[in-house]
Every structure is written in structure tokens, then in C-alpha cells.
């Protein structure tokens, strides 16, 4: 009998080293997560009695203040991009948000100085100086902008942020991660993951009027197309494992686009009316 040679091993070749995994997922954890500071509760109040005129002026001033703050809170700008168009929005700090089809964002212009914050759902590409830094809120998590351009998409249960330039911080209730150039974070079911991507540009292909996919599950590609043209696509069975890479203009009709996508697989997709 031959002896089992030491060179034979059953250990697989891992895609990532432990260090890479640390950097992608664990390096961003901080000890302070979840601990709340407790201060600002110490100011004692004094009761001051006021007379006549002063009292009148003060109450008028108070009333005006209340009216201004209420309007500031109530007054919000809501922008929706309907099917087939890309809308550019100038935010108060000079940065620009480009909204993809079916996206809506809202912010409060009068409160911008105090809390620069945009609420969004759908897909948007933010560019500009962001000198003061604002935050973008979505259902699944929050983005803190640290001076950069980035793409943010929330469709289905997925929340994907792709950093094209500079730096952003993405957080949800449990964890947070800082993204630099060419990094992408994904939140699914409350789980936050970050990784380097080789094709960050394809995430913003839609702003240039092209569809750009790089090794993307065919299912997701079809979803994107269906969303853009606002149509329903009948999917043949057994396409769950297929992946697609390609780039083409959005000027084409939905039928043309589906022919392009189906060709390499020998598939035809139908649009349900």
C-alpha cells in the first residue's frame, strides 16, 4: 500500500483571505454601536413672571415662531420620476440627484440648514460637492454622505449603495460601513455587507442612457428592464442560474432590448399585456 501523501488536501481554496473578510465586514464595527449617550437633561427651568407689554410681545413672537417652525416641518418638496424619464434635482447644498424611473425623493428645504436630509425610494445617483454632508434615508437604512458621488438603489427588499468617488457611510439599525471608491454595500433582510466591485461605473450606466450589466443574474436584469419600460415580462423557466453581461442604449424599444438580452441564451422573452 502506498502511504497517503501529505501533498493531497481536502481544504478548498478560499475566495478571500481572513484579512480581506475582516476589512470588508468587521473593520467598520465600533464599540459605541448601540450605546446611547445620556446628557442634556440637567438644565433647570426657572419660572419668571412677566407683565403687560413684554408679555404681549413675547406671546406674539412665540406664535410667529410656532407658525414658522410648523411650516418648515410641513413644507416638503416631493419629486417623483415617472416611467421613461430621468429627473435631475438640485439639492439646497448645490449637489445634484438624478432620479431613475419610478424613484421618489423628498426633503424639507426650510429645515435643510438644521438637518440636511433626503428621504428616497427607488434609484438615484448623487453627485456634487456635499461640503457640509447630508444624509439619505431609505426604508432599509441610511447613508451619511462624506463628500462624494454615489448611486443608491432600493428595489424589492434590497438596498444597494455603490460609491463611485470619495466616501460614504451606510448604516442600518445594527451595523455601519464606510465605503470608498469602487466599493458597494448591500443590505438584505437587515444584513449589511460590503465588497469591492470591478464595475462601479455600470451601476450608474442608467444616468447616461445606457443599460450596463456586468455579470448580473439574468433575473435582476429582466427586473431592471421591466421597471424601466413599465412592462411585465414573461420569464421562461430555468433562467435562475444564468448571468448576463452587456451594454446597450435605452433608446431602443422594450421588444428590441429583450431580443438583445435573449439572443446569447437562445431565449425569447414575451411582454405580457
Amino acid at each position: 500500500m502506498k502511504r497517503l501523501d501529505n501533498k493531497i488536501t481536502a481544504v478548498p481554496h478560499w475566495d478571500k483571505t481572513a484579512d480581506q473578510i475582516w476589512n470588508e465586514r468587521f473593520a467598520v464595527l465600533t464599540d459605541e454601536d448601540g450605546k446611547e449617550g445620556n446628557d442634556g437633561q440637567t438644565s433647570s427651568s426657572k419660572i419668571v413672571s412677566l407683565k403687560g407689554r413684554t408679555r404681549y410681545i413675547l406671546s406674539v413672537a412665540a406664535a410667529i415662531l410656532v407658525i414658522i417652525t410648523t411650516t418648515a416641518f410641513i413644507y416638503s418638496k416631493d419629486i417623483n420620476a415617472v416611467s421613461g424619464e430621468i429627473v435631475s434635482v438640485h439639492l439646497p447644498d448645490g449637489s445634484i440627484a438624478q432620479l431613475s424611473t419610478g424613484t421618489s425623493i423628498s426633503y424639507r428645504p426650510m429645515l435643510w440648514i438644521f438637518s440636511p436630509c433626503v428621504t428616497m425610494s427607488g434609484e438615484a445617483y448623487f453627485t456634487g460637492s456635499h461640503a457640509e454632508g447630508f444624509s439619505v434615508k431609505t426604508k432599509q437604512g441610511e447613508i451619511e454622505v462624506l463628500g462624494t458621488s454615489f448611486n443608491s438603489r432600493t428595489y424589492d427588499d434590497k438596498f444597494v449603495v455603490t460609491c463611485i468617488e470619495g466616501k460614504v457611510k451606510v448604516k442600518n439599525l445594527r451595523s455601519s460601513v464606510e465605503l470608498t471608491e469602487n466599493m458597494e454595500s448591500t443590505i438584505i433582510n437587515g444584513k449589511l455587507k460590503a465588497e469591492y466591485v470591478s464595475d462601479s461605473e455600470s451601476a450608474v450606466g442608467w444616468t447616461k442612457g445606457v443599460f450596463s450589466f456586468y455579470n448580473k443574474p439574468l433575473n435582476d436584469v429582466l427586473k431592471d428592464v421591466a421597471r424601466y419600460y413599465d412592462v411585465k415580462i414573461e420569464k421562461p423557466e430555468g433562467i435562475d442560474t444564468l448571468r448576463y453581461t452587456g451594454k446597450f442604449s435605452r433608446q431602443k424599444s422594450a421588444e428590441e432590448v429583450l431580443t438583445i438580452i435573449g439572443q446569447p441564451y437562445g431565449l425569447t422573452f414575451k411582454i405580457c399585456k
Partner: protein, 165 residues
């Protein structure tokens, strides 16, 4: 109670072992890597409750729990055939020798598939990571005697499979 520095040290020391441990049990590379990350995330989230003394065994215990969950979700038999590899140290190996190695690799994978879970984890921890029986016993919280017993069982399976050569 552990802090970020402790956690980093823990990660550096045990991450590789934990993902290997899960892999020994399920023979799936990507799932093992994901699960190992979940194990460390779970420890991080419970960091105020855990103490650094018994954390080694805790890691393996959490991992074992996730493995049970995994099997509940997808009931598949571990198969090591696709992961086995062979590095040739000599520059040139004859086709004849190569065929021999290939056969040996198949037999080795077969032997691993045949081992009971308990036997395989001990055997692989010892052979692939060169851990001592004492160290294995501490990590799995079993006695050294049990490690020895499982090891001899594993070697018996190995012998039965390889003797045909």
C-alpha cells in the same frame, strides 16, 4: 465583556479555523465562509455578555448551531470530491504518476465521505490544521479520550478505503 481589540485578536486567531470547521461538516466552501462570518457577527453582538476565557469553545458551539440550521434547510450529504486537490512539489510528474495521484485523491475523498461527522471533524482538524488532540478536545469541549477514540475510528475508515490500492 470584550472590546474591538479583543475581537480583532479573536478573529485573527480563529476565523480560519472556524470556517474550516464548518467546511469539514458541510463540504461547501461558500456557505462555510458565510456561516463563519455569521458566527463572528453573533459573538460581536453578544460582546457584552461573553468573557474571553471560554470564548474558544463558544465559537465552535455557535458554529455547530448554525450547521444544524443549515442541515435543516438543505438536507444534503457532505461530498468532498470536488474540493480535493493535490500540489506536486516536483516540477515534472509523469502521466502515470498523475493517474495514481488522481486515484488516491478519489479514494481519500471517498474515505472522508464515509467517516461519521464526529470522526471526520477530529480527523481533519488534526490532519489539515495540525492541531494536537489536547487542542481539539478544548475547542470541541470533549475529552482527549473521545478525540483519540474518534481518531482511531477515522483511521480505520481511511485504511478500509485506501487498502484497495
Amino acid at each position: 465583556m470584550i472590546d474591538k481589540n479583543d475581537f480583532k485578536a479573536l478573529f485573527d486567531e480563529y476565523y480560519e479555523s472556524i470556517r474550516l470547521y464548518i467546511y469539514y461538516k458541510i463540504a461547501e466552501k461558500d456557505a462555510a465562509d458565510d456561516m463563519a462570518q455569521d458566527v463572528f457577527m453573533a459573538v460581536w453582538e453578544k460582546r457584552s455578555e461573553v468573557s474571553i476565557q471560554n470564548i474558544k469553545a463558544l465559537l465552535y458551539k455557535i458554529a455547530a448551531g448554525y450547521i444544524v440550521d443549515y442541515y435543516r434547510r438543505c438536507d444534503v450529504k457532505a461530498d468532498f470530491k470536488k474540493w480535493i486537490s493535490c500540489t506536486f512539489i516536483e516540477a515534472s510528474v509523469s502521466t502515470n504518476e498523475q493517474a495514481e495521484y488522481n486515484e488516491m485523491m478519489q479514494l481519500y475523498a471517498n474515505a472522508l465521505n464515509c467517516m461519521a461527522d464526529g470522526q471526520r471533524e477530529v480527523f481533519m482538524m488534526n490532519r489539515e490544521e495540525q492541531l494536537t488532540y489536547q487542542e481539539i478536545a478544548e475547542r470541541l469541549r470533549i475529552s482527549v479520550k473521545t478525540v483519540e477514540k474518534r481518531m482511531s475510528g477515522a483511521l480505520k475508515v481511511l485504511k478500509n478505503n485506501m487498502l484497495t490500492l
